[in-house]
C-alpha cells in the first residue's frame, strides 16, 4: 500500500479523487446547461410528434411574446427594488449593531431571524399580512384613514409587495457579512481619525465605506443572483398575477415548462436566464480585476 501510493502519479490520484464530484457536476450542471441550448433549437415533442429542428423559431416566438418581456421587465424592476434597499439596510443594521447599544443581542437576532425561515413560510406569513380588509397592512392603512386595498390582487402593487417581502428576508443575511467586515477594521483607524478631528460621517465616507468595498461587491453579486434564482414567494403569493404583473423570469420558465409542458420554449427562456447569470459572473470578474489593480 505504502509503496504503491508513493509511486502512483498525482495525475491519477487527483482525477480519482475528483471523479465522483465531477460526474455529478457534469450530469446536473454542465450537461443541462448545454442541453438547454441544444433543446431550445428544437420543437417540443408531443404525443405522436417527435421534436424537430426549428432553428431560432423558439427565440423568435420569445421576442414576440409579451409575457416574456413583461417577466423580464418585472425581474429588472424586482432587482432594482430589492438590491439597493436590502444592501443599504444591511449596512445600516451592521453599523448599528456593531457599536455599543442597549439590547444589541436581541437586535442582531431580530435582524437575522428571517434568514433562517424558508421563503415559503415567509411568503405564507406575509400573505396573511396583505389580506384585504383583514390583514395587518390593510388595518394599518385604514388607521391612517386611507381606503382598503387589495395589495396582491392589484397590478400596481403586487410586485412591490414581493419586493418588500424579499427585502425583509434578505437584509439580515447581508448584514452579517458587513458585520464581519466591520469587525475586521482596525480600531486604530477610528482613533487616529478622532485625533485628527474627523467627524463620524466623514470617517464612514472616507475610511469605512471604501474598506467595505470587497464586501459590498460580494453582497451585490449574491443579491443579483438571488433576484433571478428565488421565486418561491411568487408561487405562494401571486402565481405571477394579476395579468403577469408579478411574474419573474424563473417563474415564467416554471409556468411554461411545468404547466404548459412546452419544454423547448422553456429551454429558450432558460437560455436568457443563463445569459443573465453569465453576465453577472463576467461582471464580477472584471470588477474584481479592477479592485486588485486599485490596491
Amino acid at each position: 500500500m505504502t509503496k504503491r501510493s508513493a509511486t502512483t502519479s498525482p495525475h491519477v490520484i487527483g482525477w480519482l479523487l475528483l471523479l465522483p464530484a465531477a460526474a455529478l457536476l457534469v450530469t446536473f450542471t454542465h450537461y443541462p446547461a448545454v442541453a438547454t441550448l441544444y433543446h431550445s433549437l428544437f420543437s417540443t415533442a408531443r404525443a405522436g410528434r417527435p421534436a424537430v429542428w426549428v432553428g431560432l423559431e423558439n427565440y423568435a416566438a420569445m421576442a414576440a411574446d409579451p409575457v416574456f418581456w413583461q417577466s423580464l421587465r418585472n425581474n429588472a424592476l424586482f432587482a432594482l427594488g430589492t438590491i439597493p434597499t436590502s444592501m443599504a439596510l444591511a449596512l445600516a443594521m451592521a453599523l448599528l449593531v456593531n457599536g455599543k447599544l442597549r439590547g444589541r443581542a436581541f437586535l442582531r437576532l431580530s435582524y437575522f431571524t428571517p434568514t433562517i425561515l424558508p421563503m415559503i413560510a415567509v411568503a405564507n406569513i406575509w400573505l396573511f399580512f396583505y389580506t384585504p380588509g383583514y390583514g395587518l397592512v390593510d388595518r394599518f392603512v385604514q388607521l391612517l384613514g386611507l381606503p382598503s386595498h387589495n395589495w396582491l390582487g392589484s397590478r400596481d402593487t403586487a410586485l412591490a409587495c414581493l419586493v418588500v417581502v424579499t427585502v425583509w428576508k434578505e437584509a439580515g443575511f447581508f448584514m452579517i457579512f458587513y458585520l464581519a467586515a466591520l469587525q475586521s477594521i482596525a480600531p486604530v483607524l477610528a482613533e487616529a481619525a478622532a485625533i485628527e478631528g474627523a467627524g463620524r460621517w466623514y470617517f464612514f465616507r472616507r475610511v469605512t465605506f471604501p474598506l467595505l468595498m470587497p464586501t459590498t461587491l460580494f453582497v451585490l453579486v449574491n443579491a443579483v443572483i438571488n433576484s433571478f434564482r428565488l421565486v418561491d414567494h411568487v408561487v405562494v403569493m401571486t402565481r405571477g398575477g394579476p395579468d403577469n404583473a408579478s411574474s419573474l423570469l424563473l417563474y415564467y420558465i416554471y409556468d411554461v415548462g411545468f404547466k404548459f409542458w412546452d419544454t423547448a420554449y422553456a429551454a429558450a427562456l432558460t437560455m436568457v436566464l443563463l445569459v443573465v447569470l453569465a453576465s453577472v459572473a463576467i461582471g464580477q470578474f472584471l470588477l474584481l480585476d479592477r479592485r486588485i489593480h486599485y490596491r
Binding site: L18, T29, P114, P118, M119, I125, F128, F258
Partner: protein
C-alpha cells in the same frame, strides 16, 4: 446622528423586523377569534397546531425533510472533501480548467436548470423520490471551494510527516486534513442544512406524492388546497415547518451566525 437617535432607529428597525414573526406567533397560539384581535387576556392554545398536524401528513413530510437533508449533507461532505483535497494538494493535468468548471456552478445553480434536470430525472426513472430532490445538489461547488481554501492552509509538513509514517493519500486526508477543517465542516453543514430544509421550487417540481414531499412542499399543498383561508391553522403549520430549524437556530445562534459568515467570506 446622536447615540440616542441611533439606538431609537435600531430598535424601530428591530421591532419592525420581528413583527411579522411575532404576529404569526400570536395568530398560531391563540384561538381563531383572536387571530387578528390583540387582547392581552386572550387565552393561549395549542389547538391550531394539533389541527394542522392532523389535517395533513406533516409527520411524514418532516421525516422526508430530515432524510433529504441528511442524505444531501452526507454525500456532499464526502464528495466535496475528496474533490477539495485533489484541488488543494495534487498537481494533476487539467487542474485549473477542472477547477474553473467546478466554479461554474456558483453562478449557474441547479435552481435555474429545472427544465433539463427534470428530463434527466425522468429518464433515470427517479421522479418523485427523495434522491431526485437531492442529486443535483450533491456535488456542491461551494463546498469544494470552501474546503479547498481550508486544506490549502494546512502546513505541508504535517502532510509529509503522515506520508513518512506510511499513510496513503486517503489516510492522510482523514487523519490530518479533516480534523483540522472541523470548524469549516460545521459551518458548511449548517448552511447546507438550512438551505435544503428551506428549498422549495425544485422539490415542488420533482415530487408529487406524500412519500417524497419535504415540509416546504407539504406546507404549500396544505395551505393552498386543503385549507381555504383559515389563517390560524395556516400560520400554525407555517411555524411547524420552520420550527425545528428555528429552535436549532435560537439554541445555537452564535454558531449559526458565525457559520454563515465563515461561509460567505471565502
Amino acid at each position: 446622528m446622536t447615540r440616542a437617535s441611533e439606538t431609537l432607529a435600531a430598535w424601530l428597525l428591530g421591532l419592525l423586523w420581528i413583527l411579522p414573526l411575532a404576529y404569526a406567533g400570536w395568530t398560531a397560539f391563540h384561538p381563531r377569534e383572536y387571530s387578528a384581535r390583540f387582547v392581552l387576556t386572550a387565552p393561549l392554545t395549542l389547538g391550531n397546531f394539533v389541527e394542522a398536524w392532523n389535517a395533513a401528513p406533516f409527520a411524514r413530510y418532516l421525516l422526508n425533510t430530515v432524510l433529504l437533508v441528511a442524505l444531501i449533507l452526507g454525500v456532499q461532505l464526502v464528495l466535496c472533501t475528496l474533490a477539495a483535497y485533489a484541488f488543494a494538494r495534487f498537481e494533476f493535468a487539467g487542474r485549473t480548467a477542472a477547477f474553473l468548471l467546478v466554479l461554474v456552478q456558483l453562478m449557474i445553480m441547479p435552481d435555474v436548470l429545472i427544465v433539463e434536470n427534470y428530463q434527466t430525472m425522468s429518464r433515470l426513472g427517479a421522479l418523485d423520490t427523495i434522491l431526485a430532490i437531492g442529486l443535483p445538489y450533491m456535488a456542491s461547488a461551494f463546498g469544494i471551494f470552501l474546503l479547498r481554501q481550508t486544506f490549502k492552509t494546512v502546513p505541508k509538513e504535517l502532510d509529509e510527516a503522515a506520508r513518512v509514517e506510511g499513510a496513503g493519500p486517503l489516510l492522510t486526508l482523514w487523519k490530518v486534513y479533516v480534523p483540522l477543517a472541523r470548524p469549516v465542516y460545521v459551518a458548511y453543514a449548517l448552511v447546507s442544512v438550512s438551505y435544503h430544509w428551506n428549498n422549495f421550487l425544485w422539490p415542488l417540481i420533482v415530487t408529487n406524492s406524500v412519500t417524497s414531499r419535504p415540509l416546504t412542499v407539504g406546507l404549500q399543498v396544505f395551505s393552498s388546497t386543503d385549507q381555504g383561508v383559515d389563517w390560524s391553522i395556516i400560520t400554525a403549520a407555517t411555524l411547524l415547518t420552520s420550527g425545528p430549524l428555528l429552535v436549532a437556530f435560537l439554541l445555537f445562534q452564535r454558531q449559526f451566525v458565525q457559520s454563515f459568515m465563515r461561509a460567505g467570506i471565502r
